[in-house]
Every structure is written in C-alpha cells, then in structure tokens.
C-alpha cells in the first residue's frame, strides 16, 4: 500500500487525475451551481416583488394589528402590534404542544404497555386503537373531533356532566382547577425545609452506600420527614394553601375552574390521541427490544420483579425509546399547525391572517417557518442532551 502510494506520487499525477485537485474542483462546481441557482431564484423574487409592490422588510411588525384573537395566554387587544399578535400565536402553539406532549406521553406509555398485556381484551382494544389512528389522516381526525363532536355538544343549559365536576358543552370543556390562596407562600417555606432535609438525607445515604456502609434507611427517613413537614405546614397555615376551584354553571357559560375552548380542546385531544398511538408503538418496540434473558438474569440474581423492571429493563428500553420519541414530540409540535383547519389561533393561523392583512406574505412566511425551525432545533437539542445521558448508562 505504502509502496504503491509512493510510486503514484513519483509518477507525477497530472492535475486532472489528482484526487485532491478533483475534490476541490467538484466542490467549487457544486457551490457555484447552487449559488447560481439561488441567485436566479432571488433575482426572480426581487423583480416579482418589486412589480407587485411587496417588500422583504419586517417593519410591519410595529404596525397596529387591528384584528381580534379568540384566545391568548398573554394580554392582547386588537390595538396591539402585529409583533404582539405573532407572539400570542407563538404562545398558543407552545402551550398546546407542551400540554399535548405531556398527555400523549402518558397515554402512549399506557397504550404501549396495553399492547404487551397478557389480557386478551386489553391487548386487542389497544391494537385496534393503534391501527385506526395510524391509518387515517390526522386532519380528518381533527375535523371529526371539532365539527362532528365538539360543535355538536349540547348548549350550556344541558351540558354533559362527567364525574369529578367536569362539564362538556358547546362552550368547550370545563375542569376543576387548583387555585393558590395567600397562605401558599408560607406553605412553600415548609415544603422547602422538608425538601432540604430529604435531599440531605439522600446525599448522606448515597455517600454511605458508595462507601459500602449500611444506609440505615436514611433515604426512607428523609422521605417521611419531607411528607410530615409538608403536611404539618398545610395544617398550620391559617387556610388551605391550595383550594380546588370548581366550575359553576351560569346562564350562558361556566365560571370558575379551568375552561378549554372547543378549538383548543379538539386540537389537544386530536394531537394527543394521534401521537399516543405512535408513542405506544415506540414504547412497545423499546420494551420488546430488551431480551428475555435480561429478565431471567435479573431474577437469577435475586432482584424482585419491580427492581428488575426499574434497574435492568427500563434503562435499556429507554435507550431504544428516546430517539424515536424525540421525533414524535417534534411531529406533535409541527402537527399543531393543523389548528388552522379548526380555527384555533396558533402561530400558523395568525401568520396567515397577518399575511392577508399586511399584504406582505414573504416576510411573514419566513418568520413563521424560521420560528418552527427554531422550535424543532431546540427540542431536538434538548432531547439529544437527554439521550446522551441515557446512553451513558451503558459504560
């Protein structure tokens, strides 16, 4: 190998056969072609935009929006700027995505475990659910949920009442909500003290365990102290730190509790039901990927069933689960853009409204796509960090 390389060098390769020259040349050609193509597109874009009086500037963000937004987690009036309106859309996208990710993970894990259940009925129901959800378009599921379910619910007067003071009506879904009272701050001090004791006990226990000395149940003692101090603090505070606020029926709507609009509820349920089917398959695959021998070995070592699951099977399954789970989370966030079909004011819908009102679609599209890209990249970055921590367990 070495000899032949020297021979080749000695033979003075002409430049058109020299691999290094060719590589540089090939890259230069590709870059030049791409630059020319992009330049061609941009030139067309600028001429077309000049002809139609469009601009690329983002100055419109400071203008008055002049349209109302049905729901907004931050204060917003139609006299606010376009920038503020876009921020409302972003907050709405983020809130539905965050709630969706949490709920879809819970439901997805349940579905995944159900698909592995030895109970025939549970197993069948879970697989039929997964097949139906995965083989129909999400958009169709969303319009069914919104137009055929939530909009067809009875009026407030005949609202459907579910156990636990949950009301379903045309106005949406109303749930009991926890509400903080003025004594919450005092109670928080107790909780913090308890937590401090528990953490200290845990650290000591871990030190002793790694030094090979008996832990004397320090972890358990810490936990009990924490619970005792928190409960004591709850009782000592003059009023309960957290009260449950129940929704109450009035003539035209509910007051109190937590109200979800029909649009938000339909979008959230749709995204959760859809993504949970996929997460269920991911979880099932992850658990099945852990070989049976691992269970058997854990039992042979004398670990209990719970210990085997927690210490042997779960960490290994997690390693398989996390990467596809990440892409499911990303899909959920991206799929929340289908909100436009059912009128929930997410970032995309507000972007479309802005583009129609300002007549400047190009910067609006760039802004919306750029924001989605940032959300996607940030999520995958976070999940990659978590993934690396999970994978480190291997060593």
């Amino acid at each position: 190998m070495n000899g032949s390389a020297q021979e080749v060098r000695g033979a003075r390769v002409p430049p058109w056969r020299n691999e290094r020259v060719l590589r540089v040349l090939a890259q230069a050609v590709v870059l030049l072609a791409t630059a020319l193509f992009v330049g061609f597109l941009v030139r067309n874009l600028t001429t077309a935009m000049a002809e139609r009086g469009l601009s690329l500037g983002f100055g419109f963000l400071d203008l008055t929006a002049g349209f109302d937004i049905a729901e907004s987690p931050i204060p917003y009036r139609s006299t606010d700027t376009y920038g503020q309106a876009f921020l409302v859309g972003l907050m709405n996208t983020l809130s539905v995505s965050a709630a969706g990710i949490v709920l879809a993970t819970i439901l997805g894990v349940l579905v995944g475990v159900a698909r592995l259940s030895t109970n025939w009925l549970v197993n069948r129901v879970a697989s039929v659910y997964v097949e139906i959800i995965r083989n129909t378009p999400l958009l169709v599921q969303l319009v069914i949920l919104y137009f055929a379910v939530f909009l067809q619910l009875p009026a407030v007067a005949n609202a459907i009442e579910l156990p636990g003071a949950i009301f379903l009506s045309q106005r949406g879904l109303f749930l009991p909500a926890p509400e903080l009272t003025p004594s919450f701050g005092r109670w928080l001090v107790f909780v913090a003290v308890g937590l401090g004791v528990a953490v200290a006990a845990g650290v000591v226990a871990a030190r002793r365990a790694s030094a090979g000395r008996p832990t004397r149940r320090l972890g358990m003692i810490g936990l009990v102290t924490f619970v005792a101090i928190s409960v004591g603090g709850w009782l000592l505070a003059f009023q309960a730190p957290i009260v449950i606020d129940l929704p109450a029926r009035e003539r035209f709507n509910f007051v109190g509790g937590m109200g979800l609009s029909p649009e938000f509820a339909a979008l959230l349920f749709g995204l959760v039901l859809y993504t949970a089917a996929f997460i269920g398959e991911v979880v099932r695959g992850g658990i099945q990927a852990v070989r049976r021998g691992q269970w058997e070995a854990a039992r042979a070592l004398g670990l209990s069933e719970r210990q085997a699951l927690r210490l042997i099977v779960f960490p290994q399954a997690l390693r398989v689960i996390v990467p596809p789970l990440t892409s499911q989370y990303l899909n959920l966030a991206k799929n929340s853009s289908l909100a436009i079909a059912i009128g929930y004011p997410d970032m995309f819908k507000i972007g479309v409204t802005m583009s129609n009102q300002t007549g400047q679609p190009v910067p609006v599209i760039l802004l919306v796509m750029g924001t989605y890209l940032v959300i996607s990249l940030a999520t995958s970055l976070l999940m990659n960090i978590y993934n690396r921590r999970v994978q480190v367990l291997e060593s």
Partner: protein, 397 residues
C-alpha cells in the same frame, strides 16, 4: 408426509379455560376485562345504533361521484377508467410473477375496486361505473394468471410501469384540442386528486431524495453541508407552511412569464417536502451496507459512480422499499393538508359536500366516510408493507 410421521399434539383449549387464561388470570385482570368489555359494548352499541339508524348515508351516496372523481367532466370519465384498467392489468402481472407481498398488494387493488363497484351500485349513479370497476377487478385477476404463467416477460412489465406513469398523467391532464382535450386542473378533485398528488409526490421526490442521501454521505464537505442543511431545514418545518409557501412564493421565484397553477404548486410543495424524508430513508439503507462492500468495489477498480450505481444503491434501495411504502402511506394521508390551501381532494370535496344545503348537519357521516376510505387504502398498503419487510428480511440483517 408419511403416516409414520406424527402430527404435533393438538392442544384443545375449552372456552372456559381460554377465558380464564386470557381474561381472568388475576383479580385486576378480571376487573380490567369487565370494565373494558362494558365500555366496548357501550361504544359499539352507540356507534352501530347511529350507523344503522340515525345516520343519513344518502348524503354520501348522492355525492359518490364527487367523492371519487370530483368535478372531472362526465363525458371524459373513460380516461380515468382506461387509466385504472392499465394500472390494474400491470398490478396483476407484477403480482402474478413476483408473488408474496406484491401479490397481496395486487389482490387488494382488486378488492378495493370490487368495494368501489359495490359502493357505486348502492349509490345508483349509473351502472357504467360499477361495470367498469368489476371489469378492472377481473383484469387484475387476468393479469395475475398471466403473470403466474409468465406469459409476459418481466422486462416488458417493468417498461410498462415506467411508461404508464407519465402516460396516465398525460391521459388525465389531456393535451390541447385533441381527442383527449385538456381538463383544467380546477376540475381535478376528490379521490382522483388525492391519488395524483401522492403518486406524483413520491415519484418525483424519489430521485431527488436519493441524490440528497448520497450527498449527505458524500466525502466532499460542501456537498455534505448543502444536503444536510436542506434535509434538516425541510424536516424542521410543518408541511402546511411548505404548502403555503409553495402556493404564494413559488410563482414569485419563477421568471415572470412562467405561470403554474395551484395543483402544480401543491405538487411542487409536496415533492420538495417528501424528498427530505425519502433522503433520510435512503440514508438508513446506505448506512446498512457494510463498509466491506465499498472496499471490495474499490479493490475491483470501480470508481465512486460505478460503486454507487452497481454495488451500493441496488442493495440500499432494496432495503428501504418497506420504509418508502410507509412514506407513501403517510404522504397519501398528508395530501389532506392541501385543503388548507384551497384544493378539493377527498377531504376538501367532503367539506364542499357539507356546504350543500341538503347535507346540513351530516358532518359525522361525511367525515367518517372519508376516514373509512383512507383507512381501507392505508391499512391494505401497510399490511403489504409488513409482508414485504418479512420477505426481504430487512429486520433480520
């Protein structure tokens, strides 16, 4: 098998024992079974009560034609039938000669056409449609028999597929003022448009995706960065935003005189989008090729292009067929998003049917019908893809 060979002992489990093992093995399983059983019975009773009693299925049957071919002119419908006939025959031939999953797929094409024949017969929108679908199903069967007997050489079938794709597109689109007058894309709608969007999307994005995948694994940094940037950019944004961009910005990117209509814009958007996903699938296949294969090719004196053409790609592409069938299924489902930019594919046609005054309040019927059509198509394809995966042994290597 001789009489001396004993069959394995056949364990007969009585229904009681079966129930005991599968439903009531522990106390919590028993509670779970009872709860879920009751819930399931309630849901099934409610749904079947609605489907048989309250549901107004006449909204569907009255508009069956709209759902299937949309506003495609009635006197030109034969072009769609001819198209379907060619595809049915080819599917039969391929299924007959290839067997396995391809045969399953061909059989489900025939089954789907029988289903449509039945739906049209029930709807009473003319006997012609039913007969045409029945004839097509028969054609699949003829093709299957022909394929099994090897009446047509494999090469001819392959060429037939390659020619039929552009040919059927031209047949649907039409040419100027000839015997097949051009049909404005405004009239392309319903299931027809759904199929056209998905097929054009996957066919056009495939070569682009392969190039991107090779680019992402290229030894040249500039090529690698460009490909990676494109793939990650596209995968980071939702399809709706790309469709919206294609709808508004594609005309701006083209030179002033060149105009493209809405369907073409949507197809462009779908192609740009799915190319990134094809690329990631193909990259998976490329990574599965052992490095020894490339080294052996180099040792034989093949250059980079020849190595890819004869050694790497044939193996990689074979390995990613199931993944690409999966992509086609999700693309088929994703075509519903073009409703958002105002095209009338299956879901969009459903919405326009709901806008008729006679269809007021029939949301559930229309959307359930649309969902059921998607379910049938995508379930059949995903089953075929599982079989394909098993027969290729992709998961085992």
């Amino acid at each position: 098998m001789t009489s001396a060979t004993l069959q394995p002992p056949h364990v007969r489990v009585g229904p009681i024992a079966w129930l005991r093992v599968n439903l009531f093995s522990t106390w919590y399983n028993a509670i779970l079974s009872l709860l879920i059983g009751a819930l399931l019975a309630w849901v099934i009773l409610q749904f079947s009560g609605w489907a048989v009693g309250a549901a107004r299925w006449d909204v569907i049957t009255r508009n069956m034609r709209l759902f299937l071919i949309g506003q495609f002119p009635g006197d030109q419908a034969w072009r769609i039938w001819l198209n379907l006939a060619v595809i049915s025959g080819l599917a039969g031939l391929s299924g007959g000669s290839a067997g396995g999953a391809v045969r399953t797929l061909a059989t489900s094409v025939a089954a789907a056409q029988l289903l449509f024949a039945g739906l049209i017969a029930v709807s009473g929108i003319g006997l012609l449609g039913s007969v045409a679908y029945l004839a097509n199903a028969a054609l699949v069967w003829v093709g299957l028999v022909g394929g099994m007997r090897r009446l047509v050489p494999q090469r001819v079938v392959t060429i037939g597929w390659l020619v039929s794709l552009p040919a059927s597109f031209i047949l649907v689109a039409g040419v100027g003022d000839t015997a097949i007058p051009s049909v404005s894309t405004n009239l392309w709608s319903g299931l027809l448009l759904t199929f056209l969007l998905a097929t054009v999307g996957i066919v056009l994005s495939f070569p682009f995706g392969v190039v991107l995948a090779l680019g992402r694994r290229s030894a040249l940094p500039a090529v690698r960065w460009l490909s990676t940037a494109y793939i990650e950019l596209i995968r980071g944004v939702p399809l709706v935003t790309i469709l919206f961009m294609a709808d508004i910005m594609l005309p701006l990117f083209l030179p002033g005189e060149l105009r493209i209509d809405r369907v073409a814009r949507a197809m462009g958007g779908i192609t740009l989008f799915s190319a990134a996903y094809v690329a990631e699938n193909v990259r998976g296949g490329l990574q599965a090729i052992p490095a020894g294969q490339v080294e052996a090719a180099h040792a034989l004196g093949l250059n980079g292009f020849l190595t890819n053409r004869f050694i790497v790609l044939p193996q990689a592409l074979r390995a990613v067929i199931p993944a690409n069938v999966g992509l086609f299924i999700s693309l088929l489902k994703d075509t519903t998003l073009v409703t958002i930019v105002g095209l009338l594919e299956l879901l969009g046609i459903g919405r326009s049917v709901l806008a008729q005054s006679e269809s007021l309040g029939a949301q559930m019927e229309v959307y359930v019908f649309v969902a059921a059509l998607f379910f049938v198509m995508s379930f059949a394809m995903s089953q075929a893809s599982y079989r394909l995966e098993a027969s290729l042994g992709v998961g085992e290597r």
